[in-house]
Amino acid sequence: MSNDIFVLVEHRDGAVAESAYELLGRARELAAATSGAAVALVAGAAASLLASQLGAASRVIAVEDASLAEFTPAAWQAALAPLIAERQPLLLLVPNSGSGMDVAAGLSAATGLPLAAYAVDVAIAGGSPTVTCQLYAGKINVRVRFDGGRGIATVVAGAFPAAAGQAAGSPAVERVAPAAADARIRFRRLIRPEAGGVDITKESILVSIGRGIGEADNVELAERLAAALGGAVSSSRPVADAGWLPRTRQVGKSGLRVKPKLYLALGISGAPEHLEGMRDAELIVAVNTDAHAPIFGVAHYGAVADILEVMPALTQRLGG
């Protein structure tokens, strides 16, 4: 048992992911409060080589093996569960990413450590962690404690500033071999997104539509508004899922992170998975029929109105 704060580090193509810096920054602050260490936990074929990118950690545990060359949930769980059970950190922080949510819940069941999901804040109170979790698509926050004082938290992207976790230096590395292997899931290939005609990460004005657009025919209203504004149309996930816009226009957790000058959020509820892709936009204007939509929590201006009426009216005002 220790008072250490572990961070599960995600990486791809030899580079540590932004999430690792967000979590390491916070882990350092928490470790100072527990008199423990902020420990970066990295799994991979050459995990120890990433230590030079993890200067904010007090030390690095590199779980290294050729079988960990590519992420699979089974291999990661087999390699990490015995290690976590043995080391008993006070807290294991895992990014709430596509792979992180898989690994964290598996580790919780395998180790018996409780799991707090969708964390937006983590603190230390009376020597043990308290975690604030965002539930109900961002409508309710729940603050929890782990009954045994130790546990795992999956942390939403953007919950903590990455800058606090970016420090120079190459901490000491402890290399460990995975305690067990599990090849029941085999990595086949990585599919990279096809470059679309429009790169929404480069546009300075985005007219972004959500499920509130109602039907495919209404997308044209957004296209006209975007044309009048000199911008492009982007969307939430359900619009891309329905095939009304190409996947390359999707903003959010499994889409793209954008930071335009203007983000018009039209008929988008503001689920955490969407917010993580656009909350840093310079100006956010949201229109939604639901006065309690979480999107109004990040918007600078909001209106409770029907987008099917506001879009053509605004297009006309802009001379479109």
Partner: protein, 254 residues
């Protein structure tokens, strides 16, 4: 192919959520419930896979005393079998739910277990990986594009930036479904009603330890941080004001 789908209900976000007097729970008295969106994608995928490969789709829901309509809707959409699991006063936490589903699955044939990648209320994590680990099965979350190939399945797992990994997974396995290849099929209300009157739902008793290992200290409505300045009035007035704001800020030409 024995396909099993784990389904549940969650509070309807179309209605306002309120926190009760204890400050640690939702005011549940008047709350209305809907099927969890991602579970609906899981069911649709299961039905599509059965239609391709043959076999049977069994839907499991924890028995909270009010899941007949949920399961009847699964049957109306084309599931072959519906089973109520255990007896619960209300929907339990994910860890308890996973133990109960795992106990039921030990008594039911299953090649592929599908459930929603997440639910809006799973405070203590996603049920898919929890059930899988209870049963010692492999699991993949955030899954799309499921294809069956003999005793394995290939699936896509989605990451940030539109990156996707393709995995081959040995069966039996548990998958957390992100979205279905087609929108979930529609079940006419009349058919759901008819099934609720006539269909016998099966029941599996389970005895499991309850608890997630978390204690809720407080619930709150998130602070809006930089509370939006709200624009009132008709759609025309809203458009006027937005146009004015964009001109003031030089985003569009005056």
């Amino acid at each position: 192919m024995e396909l099993v789908v784990l389904v549940k209900q969650v509070p309807d976000l179309a209605e306002e959520l309120e926190i009760d007097a204890s400050g640690t729970d939702l005011a549940r008295e008047w709350m209305s419930f809907v099927a969890s969106e991602w579970d609906e994608y899981a069911l649709e995928e299961a039905l599509q896979l059965r239609d391709e490969a043959g076999g049977r789709v069994t839907c499991l829901a924890l028995d909270t005393g009010s899941v007949d309509e949920l399961l009847a809707t699964c049957l109306a959409r084309g599931a072959d079998r519906a089973v109520k699991v255990g007896a619960f006063e209300r929907g339990p936490d994910s860890h308890t739910a996973a133990r109960a589903f795992a106990a039921a699955l030990r008594t039911l044939p299953h090649d592929l277990v599908l459930t929603g990648v997440q639910a809006i209320d799973d405070l203590d994590g996603q049920v898919g990986p929890l059930v899988a680990t209870e049963l010692g099965l492999p699991h993949v979350s955030v899954v799309t594009h499921i294809k069956l190939a003999g005793s394995a399945a290939t699936v896509h797992q989605e990451y940030a930036g539109g990156l996707v990994a393709e995995f081959e997974v040995d069966l039996p396995a548990v998958l957390g479904v992100q979205t279905s290849r087609e929108a979930p099929r529609y079940a006419p209300v009349s058919r759901v009603r008819q099934i609720m009157k006539t269909a016998e739902m099966e029941q599996v008793d389970v005895a499991v330890a309850a608890g997630s290992g978390l204690t809720i200290e407080a619930m709150s409505v998130p602070e809006t941080g930089r509370a939006a300045e709200m624009i009132a009035g008709s759609p025309g007035a809203v458009a006027d004001r937005i146009a004015a704001i964009l001109r003031e800020r030089g985003i569009v030409k005056a």
